[in-house]
Symmetry: C2
Subunit: 357 residues, 2 copies
């Protein structure tokens, strides 16, 4: 395999990025697994419907698109066996934006179904469907879902907020961002997350459950979050390119990512204020920016840069054109390495379990 | 536009083929429309559920993938207005094989939703999902669907039948085919269509309706169907290429298309024998092979060849390799022209409406 990649370095690069994405998501799935299992057991302790309707929001299209769903199905099936009941049927709705590569997920399904049946022949029929659409709009019929899962998706805002003209040289909330910028981001998240809760409340059956994993921040101050550094180092790399005349100032100033990384306090307050759901449980955990936790910080920085590239490249390409990307992420890896040599880089994750009232 | 195509003849060819497919499907939709409307009215005359669950089986991915669904939604919405009821919600399941280009259908959805709302602001929420899978297996939960539609799909068998070794020089049932070949095709269709009915009966609610349009044959003799000629002319073109040493004899002899075009009698008997559905209504109609009905038979033949190419190319390419395709369909157009100069070429269609017992 290594011999093969020696002659095809681009294929090696693609392989490496896929591996990094796989690892990044895999460790979140492993970390969240006990919490998810508990929530499922709570949700179906009083009975399992004949057909369990599950949704995964922001499923993406990579090799992990079916991992969480597989976990959920196996847990519910295990419960039905424990209750000496026939395994229910499962109707699964995989959701992402219409531009997501659903063809790729669908090509994985024949193997997925075969694996499910091989692992356990008593498992009920499982029907997987694709639902293209933004979860900031209605995407399912009223009161039709039993259990909703979403991992690393609700920190994507419906759009970058308006009123960020003063966020010059930054691409997200940074230490130097004026209060109006912080307020604009905070307001956008409040609107979006409340909308998200309200819409899901219409779609989930009364008493139905939702488990959300999101990237957040450990401190209450929005300009001090763990991801601010990560994005500010990317902004720095862009500023270097601006200084060398490789990009336009107006282009850098008008770029603001449509992310928000909330604090625990914000999430708790918004759930209560919106009022549709009870927050049953909230846990937090940290994970290194580098999914391989390399001791060599230069290699670690390269992993983080590759991962961030997989997330940010579409936005950056449509903003600056594709020609700057290689150069930009080379610089970004350098900045990341300097940072990682001085201090650890960590994501802060929050997992919440909600019950529809 | 014509000026543009003068410089890009390949694009013109693609455009033409898309137009031919569009026209071929459009005229079927127009022909079936009154029948479909009547069946919908019958199905929902005693009441419309809060959320109507519709499925389209074998939806493909072209510009007509959403046409039948749009018709069905508008008819049911019109009924709800006539009953002075609030418009129901619609959950739509578009099904085809996992290799179908669902991404293309999903890219049409934002415009489709916008058009639905523009045409009628009182229309209830509509949620469209993709369901990859063969309709010769279970693809939906038990008793979950209100109305199922399928156009030009159930004449595709689950596979070409076994036992066709003696069908040398032919690619489907032909005048010279031995009785064992005819029997093998007939048996395969009987097994597949009965299986299809049994599976759908498990998935459709009791009293729910299914409308199927299929290509069939007007006579009872299976070797005399309208499509036998169409496929036999393709077999002739392949035989010409064999005579010139352009393809291998073994390859031609082992090619048999997985189609079957049933007679009215066969369909009626199978529905009754399988027993899950009542056959409410069956109508038939004819349509010219050439969707444009050109008076110039050479141009007509080219249209038919282009249309057949869009259907048969994947099978032929995987069997003979792509290199023969252009040559083959050139010869096919010649054979078709000779045929059309002597007699009309017609498809025979059957539309049936079934109620789940």
């Amino acid at each position: 395999m290594l011999f093969f990649f020696f002659f095809f370095p681009l294929l090696y690069h693609i392989y490496l990025i896929r591996l990094i994405i796989l690892m990044s998501q895999k460790r979140i799935i492993l970390e969240v697994r006990p919490f998810l299992e508990d929530s499922i057991k709570d949700a179906f302790t009083s009975g399992i419907p004949n057909c369990v309707k599950l949704a995964d929001l922001g499923c993406a299209s990579g090799p992990n698109a079916l991992s969480a769903i597989s976990e959920i199905i196996h847990t519910i099936h295990g419960m039905s066996r424990g209750m000496n009941c026939k395994s229910p049927e499962f109707q699964v709705f995989l959701n992402d934006l219409p531009g997501n590569d659903f063809n790729n997920i669908f090509s994985l399904l024949p193997d997925f179904y075969e694996k499910l049946t091989k692992e356990d022949g008593t498992l009920g029929n499982c029907f997987i469907t694709g639902v293209p659409g933004s979860f900031y709009s209605r995407i399912f019929p009223s009161r039709s879902l039993d259990f909703v899962h979403s991992s690393c998706s609700v920190h994507w805002l419906s759009q970058a907020p308006a009123g960020l003209e003063k966020n010059k040289g930054h691409i997200y909330i940074a230490n130097g961002s004026p209060p109006t910028v912080i307020q604009a981001y905070t307001n956008q998240f409040q609107r979006d997350f409340s909308l998200f809760l309200g819409l899901r409340s219409e779609e989930i059956k009364p008493g139905g459950r939702m488990v959300i994993t999101t990237i957040g921040r450990s401190m209450e101050d929005p300009s001090g979050g763990e991801c601010c550094d990560l994005l500010e180092l990317l902004a720095k790399s862009l500023s270097d390119m601006l200084a060398e005349g490789l990009i336009e100032e107006a282009d850098l100033n008008s770029l603001n990512f449509a992310f928000y990384f909330p604090s625990e306090g914000e999430v708790r307050a918004l759930v209560q204020e919106e009022g549709s759901f009870n927050l049953d449980k909230l846990v937090t955990f940290e994970a290194s920016w580098d999914p391989f936790d390399e001791s060599d910080k230069y290699r670690g920085a390269q992993n983080v840069a590759n991962y961030m590239r997989s997330i940010a490249e579409p936005t950056l390409t449509s903003h600056f054109g594709g020609i700057i990307i290689g150069n930009l992420f080379g610089r970004y890896a350098d900045h990341l390495a300097k940072h990682l040599l001085m201090e650890e880089g960590k994501y802060f994750f929050m997992v919440i379990s909600l019950t529809n009232k």
